[in-house]
Structure formats: C-alpha cells, structure tokens
Amino acid sequence: MRFSLIGLWLIALPLFAAEPVDFTNDREGTSFYDSSSDKRAIARALKQVDESQIRGAFDDVERSLEENKLCSYDLNASLNKKLKEINPKFSETEGAILYLRTQNEFDDSVAKMLMQANTVETTNLRLPKNQEELFLPSDKKVVESAVATIANFEKKNTKGSCFDDSYRSLYGDVLKADKSMKSYHFEALLVEAYQQKKIDINVYMKLERARVNELETSSYSLKSHYKKIKSLRNQFPLRDPEEKSNFVTGKVDKLKVSHRQKLLEGYSDIQIMLMANVIKKLRTRLDSPKAEILIYDRQNGVETIELDPMERFRLAIKLLRKEMSLIALNTYFQGRTPDYLDLMTAAYEVGIIPASELEEVAGLQDIWNPKKTFWEKAQVWIRTLSSVATIAIPPPYGFIPALALVVIEMTAGKKNDKTDDPTVLF
C-alpha cells in the first residue's frame, strides 16, 4: 500500500513541478540598447569573460529561477557570482546584460530591469551628507512614524520579496504619513533612521541608492513582466514565434524607452488585449472589399449606399479615431487614452499585426497627424516676417513680402479635407 502511494506521488510529481522560466526574446528585433556606448560596454565585458561563458552562466541561472520568486536583483547577483567564479575580477555586469540581450536571451524590458538593478547596486554615493542640505518633514510625528517604518524595512525585505518591490512598498508606507512628502524629505529620513541606529550602513546605502535612482517612480518588476508576457502568450499564441520587429524597439518621442517597453510597463495584459482589438477591427475594415450604409424607413430598408474605396478607407480611419477615444471610457483604462503607436505595439505583441505590416499601418497616423516638413515649419516664420515686412518695406519693394505671402497661401493652404466635397461621404 505504501509503495503504491509513493508510486502515485512520483507519477503526480512532474505535473506539479513548476515550468522552467524562459525569458527568450520572441518579439523584438535590434535592441533599443544599440548605441556605440552599449557596444563598448559589451566589448569590455567580453574582454573579461568570453561569449559562451556569459551565455552558459545565464543558462545556469535561468534554470535555477522560480516563477514566483523572480527578482532582477537576485538574478544579477547569481549571474555575477557565476561570472566571478570564471573570472574573479569580473566587473562588467552591464556589458554582460547587454550581450545577453543581443543574443535574444531576453528582451529590452528585462534588460532594462537588470541594468537598473545593477545601477542601483553600484551607484556611488557622496557621503557623509551635508546636514544643512537635509530637510526633514516639519511634523515630528510624521518623522517618527517614517523612521519607524524605515526601521522595519529589513524585516519585510527578508521575507522573500524582491528589493525593488520592498523599496516601493516602503516608500508607499512612508508616504502614507504625509502625502506631500518629497524625495528630499525621504533622503533626510533615511539619514535620520541611520543616525538613530534604526538601520545599519548597508541598508542605508541600499535605500539611498534606490532613492537616488528614483526606483519608486516605476512599478514594473521582473515578476510582473514575466507574468504579463506569459498571460498574453497563453491567450494569443504567436503564429510566428521567430518573427521580430525593429519598429517596436524604436524610441518613443520625448521618452527614454522603446515602444514595447512603454507598452509593457504602462499597460496591463487586459488593456493590451483591448488595445490590440481596436487594431484588429481597423485591419479588417482596411482589408474589406465592400462597405454599405443601409437606410431604413420605419419598417423596411429603403436605400443602400455603397461606399467607394477611398470612402471605405477614410471611414476606417474615422472609426479608428472614434474607438481610440472610446477606449479611454472603458473601465479598464480609467480615463487613460493610449496613443496610436501604443495600439500598434499592442497589436503586434499579440500577433494581430505581423512585423511586415507594422510600419505601414503605423504610418496611417500621418493622415490625421501629418509630419511637418522643414518648408512647412519655415512657412510659419516667413509668413510672420512677411506680414510685418509688408508695412515696413516701402514701395516699390513692398511687392516682395506680398508675393511671399501669396505663394505661402497657395502652397500651405492645400488640405485634403473632403468634408466640404459634396461628391464624397467620408
């Protein structure tokens, strides 16, 4: 009887065994981290250990990872340990991370988190702090409460949560005492906690490095990333897992992230699916060979108006614009309006739009938000200056700015707005 129970247990064991963690990049083409300084960092790392050693070390680390305990700090520590076993002088963790990204061991989002963890751990602090530059919150009760919260940090951190989650939780707890608290208050509170010997120098430095690197501003972690990707892949299995896109690793205007990093950091898996669905409908409409408008009287259809191809195209664009606005009203978005490129990246993420179509469909944005050429930008200035010059320049030379104004009116005034054209519906 005992043997049969053991036998059953042994049979069932593999079913309960956790799936191995796999970070392999399955969507991104050339990395967002592809600058010459990134390449130099890789070269420095490869001087200390060779390519196969970095990949081998990471494979070992990856095999030992558990899905519920994923942590960029722990992963970096394990990787560093392995690489230091190969070369005790190894110091180029960032280069190793970037190299692993080039080999598609993981994507840019994972690379970013690992590099941020590395930066947090290696940032040089200017110590001791100048007391005159430290500003504690004015309310002493707030200070006491915050210092007590900071004192408990180590206890909470040792419970198995990742450092970034623990730090953000601590920051949130401290903020509960005074929501108007700023980062410089937190800086002073950390010093206060250390001076009161509530935390030791190591914990102080770790927390201060996290503060300096503004770890509290993001809520994205390795664990949540892995969970999100897994959820998306389960619900939308990729038709072509080998497909890669350089478009999604392109830089977002005015931000230091790629389109895909922005998407994954900023939206939940459900939001991504809803966004992708908008593009799915757009694609169907763009590809549709026929669209009709049916007119009914009170009982029957009395008229069918068939849209011509360009009307169908403009209808698809108008419906897209409408649905982009409506998505903000969805409870899952809480008023947040994703931009068109977010939708495109979401559609690619779940495989609705293949990489080959991505750039062209994304380019539809030019229709409602056309890029301005140099001449169009210059026209604004020429028009302004010419208007002044028409009065300032005396005859007979006054015709020059007048002519410039007329030419600008002729060229800039052309808009393909079909709304006033009675021969088209859209």
Binding site: R283, L286, P309, M310, L364, A402, V406
Partner: protein, 405 residues
Amino acid sequence: MKTLLLVTLLVPTLTFAQVTERTFEAMTRTENNKPLVGDVVLTDLVSNDSFDGEHFKIVNGKSDEAIKFDADEALKFRAATAYFHLTKARNYFIEKIKSDYVAKLPKMVIRIEHSNQFSELGHFTHDKYDPQFNNALTIPAGEGLASKGVKPWGIEIWFRPAKRVNIKELKVNGLANQEFQVLMAGFREQIHMQSMQRFLSNTVMAMTSDGPGMNPLSTENLIRTVGSSIVMELGYQFMDPITKFFSRKWYWLDTAVVPEIIYHEYSHVALSDHLVLSHSTAIIEGMADYFAGQMADSPKLAMNIKKYNTYNGKNAKRKQDYKIQFEMGEYANTDFVFGLLWEMGKIVGEDKGEAFMFELRKKLTTNSNIRNQLVEGILETCEEECTTPFVDKIRILKALNLKGI
C-alpha cells in the same frame, strides 16, 4: 505531280524570303529623351519597295496601298518613323508584357497624313466634313457596309497631318493658366491690403506722434501708397492681352514623328481587349500614357513635344489633386491618371509596375471612372499581384488619399 509539290513547297519559302530589313532615316530619341534624326533599321518588311510589313502597313490617307520607298522625303520620313516605333511598341508588349492578345493581332493598317473623320459605318466620313489635323487616333475594327462598297477593316491608327492653327481657335483646358490666374488674384488682393495697411498705419502714426511726421494725406505719401495698388490693378486688368501679345500664336503637331504619341496610340491597341476603343476617357488615356511613358522610359511623356502642343504637357511627376471634372470632358485628357498610375507603379515595385498595370486593364472598362472602378481595380489587382498585398494596399490608399481622391 512532282512539279506541283515543288511549287507548293516553294511558294511559302519565297514569301518568307521576302521578309527583309532596310535602313531609313527616322525620328528617334537620345538617352536624355531629346529628338534625334538618325538611321533606323525597319524589320519584318514583306515588300521590297514599300512600307508593308508583316504586322504593319503604312498607307497615305485613305489609300490602301503602302507608301513606296521612293515617295517624297517628308512622307517617307513619317512612314519610317511610324513603322519603326510601332514595331518597337509591338515588341515591348509581346516580349516584356507577354501579351498573347498583341501577339495574335492581325496586320494593322496605319494611316498617316489622314484628315478624314472616323465613321463607324463608313470607315471614313466624306472629305467635305471638317478635316482633322494635329492629332492621332486609334479606331476600332469595323464590319464595313457591303451595300455601299465599304469593306471591313481592322483596328487602325490614324496620324493626322500637321497644320498651323491660330491659338485663338483652340479650346485649351488651361489648368496651368487657371493656377496662374489664382496666383495673380491673390497677389492683387495682398497688394491692395498692403496699401490700405500702410495708409492706416501712417495715419495712426501721424495722429499719435507729437513730433513732425509725414502727413498721411500729403501728395507724396498718397502717390507712394496708392501707386503700388494702381500699378497692380493695371497689370491685373491688362494681364490677358499682355500675355497673349507675348505668348506664341501658332500651334501645330506632327503626330507621326513623335515616338511617345506612336507608343500611346499603339498602347490603345494593346489594351483594347478590355478597354474598347469607343471613346476617349480619363482612364483609357491614362493607361495608354502609362505604357507610352514606360516604352519611352520617361515620366515626362509629351514634355518633349511641349513646344508644339498647348495642353499641359503630360508629366507623371506633376503633383495634382483630384477634381471631379477629371472624370469627363476636356479634363479627361489631363495627366492626372497618368501621374496616378505612375505613382502606383512605383508603390507596387518598379519591376512589377508594368505587369501590374497590364493586369489592371482586366478590372476596367472604357466607361470606368477614377474614383470608383479605377481605385477598386488597383486594389483588387494588388490583392492578386502584390508581394505583400495588405501593406501595398495601405501604401496605395495613403497615396491616393494624398492625391485628394
């Protein structure tokens, strides 16, 4: 019996033996598409003394006889030019476009110096009816009228004689002229507004300034301020007579010596399996222009003959927004469809453009319009022919949207 067999064998052999090549002077183009008179070799001739070939017979006017090699030099030059470029066009459609229809076309009669109008029943109208000049025309085949002695005829190309015509007698669509008039109207408005602003600002300055300033009502100031407006107004009101005085007054077009026109007309023939030669529309003219442009290897079709003609000069690269008028009437012959097809050809790939357009003809009829059937036809053809149909269709739709369709 043996003799009979020998003769039977010899007759076709002799016929083939007559297919000859001969060198003539004709109008060609340089690499830069400039006109060049030079020697060309005419192939597939089946006659030793006339422009009668296996595929084309060049006749003078209403005649049924091929033009003789010893005809007068000017006629011979036109015949040789037409024959040479028609052969080139035929080879293009057979060898490059792989058109079975063109390969199977029967021998065509090409009429040069032919001024009679076309009649669906009688082939030609009577000489007394308004003779035609400075033009070229492709006519559909006809069954003839046996009761009146009119024999059946095949598809023919007619090149009209060149004739100096006073520009006043021509109906010109004048799109460029319209644009110039809009520019002048805007300029005039701006100058008047400028004069008004100057007068008001001088008046305000004089009223608000304590020191001695310019009197806005002084003669000097009035002359300076109003002077520009008067000069502008005079120029504007007399613009038309002045333009007419300085512009050229005579127009003529010798179509039989313009390679692009020859290609254009032959393209009508090659496309006539689907685009029936009944009347001229924007689409069939644009399609013929496209292939003529490809054969001439130039988007500037007819720009080379601009100095002879009065219409805009067909230029595929001319940016032009869609106007509903392009669908019909005299605007139908403007270069909008040509430019549009040229752009579409670039989108689907330069190596595929010609095959694409040739397939496109299957989706069109002579009565197709631009906004509906042409655009639909382009999208459907792309679905069948493009390497990446969805992406290419998006590119096409974006380009068409920019064209204002």
